[in-house]
């Protein structure tokens, strides 16, 4: 909302400059977005919170300024003389159903000569961001800016049937409004209609056909009170925001309608030669009841942490137009322009705090009272990030939204996706079922940016539709430019090792988004807890990185044992030296490390502590279809130094078993 400061000075005679004024308004909850200095004076832009409809006007802001400085608030002149018969002699109002518009007034003004407005009026409108049109429309806008009450002027000669109806829109009905746009109406919209034809969109804008023209000689001036919720719904549904709807959707002062009509009549008589008819035509079923709120001084001081005295509280409230009774037990009458927002004791306390200034409330640290149930527990998975960091992976945060079509073509089950009903784009119409697509997109982006180090990881939620429920689980995933399965495996296995997590690996043929034969699955406590591998070409093509070699994997953190990493117990190690033996064997190519490892482990006896593959070799010196593998065996006892004869015995058994079970021959 734009506000020319000189207009404000008409109602409060304060001496502060624009910048000081801006600070004061901001400190009172009317946030000043900018201060523009023009030759005609400063213009401030205020961003109103939705609860402060009372300040959507020059007079509303002036009230705050007057309260701040303790100055009187002056009123604009609104005197005029009435002539001729009243409007009721020719016109009537029908509101149907009556609840949709609690107050509806029409004032008839004759002998209008539509012309150009005087410069001072046009200047104020322009400074407030409204284009001057003609002396009648300008006055309605001027009074709206000044009082906060939107007004509308109908050309009376274009009102057929003589009855102004306020009703809901009808299906199939449409209206061409002042800006020329056409809108289809629905029963939720409020329509002003004459002879069955909509002439205005209530609370938003007028119809083009009933607008004031240069030939207009008689007008009906409308001042209405519409409910804010209904106007904001229409505003959003039709995508139509106007100065009027801005004010109605924040709530106007139900006690200010007649004042606004009088002010407009005064101005029209002055600048358009108008002759106001006596009285107004009214539909008024607004409950007259005053709003009184109770609040105690101890509630006020307890909530704010202040030590305010009763007279201070009374002064603060009365400066804002509240009436009070009592001292420590206060009864407060809420002025009509605040009755939408203030209904309870806390609302009054907020007014006191605001009027006092938040900067006057002390700043004090409380005693801490944390409950152990919510005390922060150590994160059991920090080591996972440390391991990946040490391997050179950067942690990213990608958007948890993805494109369902893209996910399906990448190989994810369409039934498992959780879809967004109202997405902003097709690329973000589902919640991600996996962290991997986001990581691949990250790699793709970095490739396009010429980045060399393509190693990324992410930790965050993934979302699966299991049919029965929408599950959210936490994953850790990593991806890198690599065609080396063992490099990828090293990432996953090193994390599990760092977390001291027991696991098994499976090598199924069905490999999902990964390449067959370059894929492994992590099993923990009998459940799948992760996958790893080199990504399949179909997946990479769907992800927009065809022809690239990328690998990665993920761990489902919720499936891991949370206690394993965070809870460690000391165990002593053997003080006796280990004895090492190397063995090189030649076996069939089809035999796996895992087979050989298991054979060695089971044949080596209880003192065989570790078996490490140190070399794999295939080459010219070997028969085709054979490979050579070298293992280093570590023997150790917790109780004594092992003798070399003893170790020879265990080693001999291993050699024997490798020959028998694996068909191995020793290589020299």
């Amino acid at each position: 909302m734009l506000l020319p400061v000189e207009w404000l000075r008409e109602f409060v005679e304060f001496s502060a400059g624009e910048d000081e004024l801006a600070q004061i308004l901001t400190s009172r909850g009317l946030e000043v977005e900018s201060v523009k200095k023009t030759p005609a004076g400063g213009v401030i832009e205020i961003e109103l919170t939705p609860n402060r409809g009372d300040c959507a006007s020059v007079l509303g802001v002036a009230r705050e300024v007057a309260a701040h400085f303790g100055l009187p608030l002056l009123s604009p002149s609104s005197s005029y003389s009435e002539t001729g018969p009243g409007a009721e002699s020719r016109y009537g109002i029908r509101v149907e159903p009556s609840g949709i518009c609690p107050i509806y007034h029409l004032k008839l003004i004759r002998d209008i000569k539509v012309g150009e407005s005087p410069e001072w009026l046009k200047d104020r409108l322009s400074a407030s961001g409204i284009r001057p049109l003609n002396s009648v429309v300008d006055v309605t806008n001027y009074v709206m800016l000044e009082t906060g009450q939107p007004l509308h002027a109908f050309d009376a000669s274009l009102i057929g049937g003589n009855t102004v109806e306020v009703r809901g829109g009808r299906d199939g009905e449409s209206i061409t409004v002042l800006d020329g746009s056409v809108h289809k109406l629905s029963p939720e919209d409020i329509v002003i209609s004459c002879d069955g034809t909509p002439v205005a969109l209530g609370g938003v804008t007028g119809g083009l056909d009933s607008a004031v023209k240069s030939s207009t000689g008689e007008i009906l001036l409308e001042a209405a009170y519409f409910r804010s919720r209904s106007i904001s719904a229409t505003e959003r549904r039709l995508g139509l925001k106007t100065e009027a709807s801005y004010r109605f959707s924040r709530g106007v002062d139900p006690g200010g309608l007649l004042r606004a009509l009088d002010r407009a009549a005064h101005l029209l008589a002055e600048i358009s030669g108008g002759s106001p008819a006596p009285g107004v035509l009214s539909h008024d079923e607004f409950p007259e009841k005053e709003t009184w709120v109770r609040v105690t001084l101890s509630d006020i001081n307890s909530l704010l942490g202040t030590e305010l005295k009763p007279d201070r509280v009374v002064n603060l409230l009365e400066a804002l137009g509240f009436k009070t009774e009592g001292g420590r037990e206060l009864s407060v009458r809420v002025p009509s322009y605040r009755r939408d927002d203030i209904r309870r004791g806390v609302d009054i306390i907020e007014e006191i705090a605001r009027s006092l200034g938040y900067d006057k409330i002390p700043s004090r640290l409380p005693r801490s009272s944390v409950s152990s149930a919510l005390a922060r527990k150590p994160d059991p998975f920090t080591r996972a990030g440390e391991v990946l960091g040490a391997m050179g992976y950067s942690r990213c945060v990608t958007l948890p939204l993805c494109g369902s079509e893209n996910c399906v073509s990448a190989g994810f089950d369409p039934g498992s996706l959780i879809l967004i009903d109202n997405p902003v784009s097709v690329n973000m119409d589902a919640l991600r079922p996996s962290l991997l697509p986001g990581l691949i997109s990250t790699i793709k982006y970095n490739i396009n940016q010429g980045v060399q180090t393509l190693k990324f990881f992410e930790r965050g939620p993934v979302f699966i539709n299991s049919g029965k429920e929408h599950s959210e689980t936490r994953h850790l995933a990593f991806a890198a430019a690599s065609d080396d399965f063992l490099e990828v495996k090293s990432g996953a296995v090193s994390i599990l090792d760092a977390l001291r997590q027991g696991y098994e690996l499976e090598y199924p043929e069905e490999s999902g988004v990964f390449k067959p034969g370059r894929y492994a699955r992590v099993r923990v406590n009998g459940l799948t807890a992760g996958e790893m591998g080199i990504f399949g070409s179909g997946f990479l093509k769907a992800m927009g990185v065809p022809g690239r070699s990328l690998g990665g994997g993920y761990l489902a953190l919720d499936k891991l044992d949370r206690s394993s990493a965070s809870f460690a117990r000391f165990s002593p190690w053997s003080p006796y030296p280990s004895v090492f033996r190397d063995i090189s064997i030649v076996v069939e190519d089809s035999l796996t490390h895992s087979d050989i490892y298991d054979t060695i482990k089971s044949a080596g006896g209880r003192h065989l502590k570790r078996v490490r593959l140190s070399d794999v070799f295939t080459g010219k010196s070997l028969e085709t279809g054979k490979k050579s593998m070298t293992y280093r065996l570590e023997f150790n006892s917790d109780e004594r130094t092992l003798t070399s004869d003893e170790v020879e015995g265990y080693f001999g058994k291993v050699v024997e078993e490798l020959k028998r079970a694996c068909g191995a021959s020793l290589r020299q």
């Binding site: 901001t26 400190s27 909850g29 900018s34 919170t49 939705p50 609860n51 402060r52 904001s232 959003r236 307890s302 704010l304 942490g305 202040t306 806390v346 907020e350 705090a353 605001r354 938040y358 900067d359 409330i361 002390p362 700043s363 004090r364 640290l365 409380p366 801490s368 009272s369 944390v370 409950s371 149930a373 919510l374 922060r376 960091g389 050179g392 950067s394 942690r395 945060v397 990608t398 958007l399 948890p400 959780i418 879809l419 967004i420 009903d421 109202n422 997405p423 902003v424 784009s425 990250t442 982006y445 970095n446 940016q449 180090t453 393509l454 990324f456 965050g460 979302f463 929408h470 959210e472």
Partner: protein
């Protein structure tokens, strides 16, 4: 043989003892112990000896070899540090560098903010990203028809009445429902708003919200805790300002600004001329919210606050565009 050995023995011992430079010492090592050194030549000459004498001399020569190796080594240690010979080595050569992959700025700020509140005695609570209308809006006193509830602003889940939470405040409701006051915790997590991506909007971002409730927690405590937070989070002298605002779930509501460090409050382009930069929203928990959670508002009172983590990271690190946070450019991530 005898003569030759004695000569080498005395001469080498003296020379090694008397050398004064590492370079000379190395020359002596080559002279006596090198592949073609004096002692190796002597060993080769043993072929001419009587077979019975060979092992005796072999032992003697090898013993001298070991002795010389030891004295040369210890002499070298004595000499090094005095007149070290630098040779042709270029110490300005670059070593192989471990390039730290950086700390993700969002995660980093999320943890830093959490750490500050934890150190002030706050616990931590979490909740789901997929929420119900009740926890996200109704329980937090958003009226029916509030713009935030609109399909324009909030993501709804297809085929269900669920939505993606627009803030982490629903966690407050869930905790208050489950356990009795007092409360003092923060709720960090992801939030979603139906925005298209641009420099200042992302459809998903992170928030840390907090709640402190007890018999006597006041607005003064709200200011105390948040002042303390701002002083610890922002470097240098931090000046805060609290001003009235509006949220459906707090009353009174406030926004906390910090004075712009670039212009010290005078107004500049960084603070769009305002002199202050908005940091977070806060307020005293509205009695309606307490009632929804089964907490008696006549007995308990307290404050809630919430801040956007990406926004905090932007302010802390001087990042001007929100899009950096989800693009994950390696050069971006490595900076923090």
């Amino acid at each position: 043989m005898e003569q030759e050995f004695r000569k080498i023995e005395t001469e080498s011992r003296t020379l090694v003892r008397e050398t004064s430079g590492v370079k000379e010492l190395e020359e002596l090592r080559v002279k006596y112990l090198g592949r073609k050194g004096a002692l190796n030549l002597l060993l080769k000459k043993m072929g001419a000896l009587d077979p019975d004498e060979r092992p005796v001399w072999g032992k003697k020569i090898n013993a001298l070899k070991r002795e010389l190796e030891d004295t040369i080594r210890s002499r070298r240690e004595e000499l090094s540090g005095q007149t070290e010979d630098t040779g042709n080595f270029d110490p300005t050569l670059p070593p192989e560098l471990f390039r730290h992959p950086g700390r993700n700025p969002v995660i980093s700020v999320l943890e830093e903010v959490s750490d500050i509140f934890v150190s002030m005695g706050f616990g931590i609570a979490y909740g789901p990203d997929i929420e119900t209308d009740y926890y996200n809006f109704t329980a937090l006193n958003f009226p029916e028809g509030h713009p935030a509830r609109d399909m324009h602003d909030t993501f709804y889940i297809k085929g269900s009445d669920r939505l993606l939470r627009t803030h982490t405040s629903p966690v407050q409701v869930r905790v208050m429902e489950k356990q009795p006051p007092p409360y003092q915790f923060i709720a960090p997590g992801k939030c979603y708003r139906r925005d298209t991506i641009d420099a200042s909007h992302l459809p998903s971002f992170h928030q840390v919200e907090g709640l402190m409730v007890d018999k006597d927690i006041s607005f003064a405590h709200l200011k105390g805790v948040l002042d303390e937070f701002a002083r610890r989070f922002f470097p240098g002298e931090t000046v805060t300002r609290f001003r009235p605002s509006f949220f459906p779930f707090t009353e009174p509501s406030a926004e906390m600004d910090i004075r712009c460090t670039i212009c010290s409050g005078g107004g500049c382009s960084s603070c769009s001329g305002k002199g202050f930069i908005e940091i977070l929203g806060a307020g005293m928990v509205d009695p309606e919210v307490f009632r929804h959670c089964g907490v008696d508002p006549d007995k308990w009172q307290g404050f809630a606050f919430g801040m956007g983590i990406e926004r905090m990271a932007m302010l802390k690190y001087g990042i001007s565009d929100l899009r950096y946070f989800f693009q994950n450019h390696r050069s971006f991530l490595e900076q923090f």
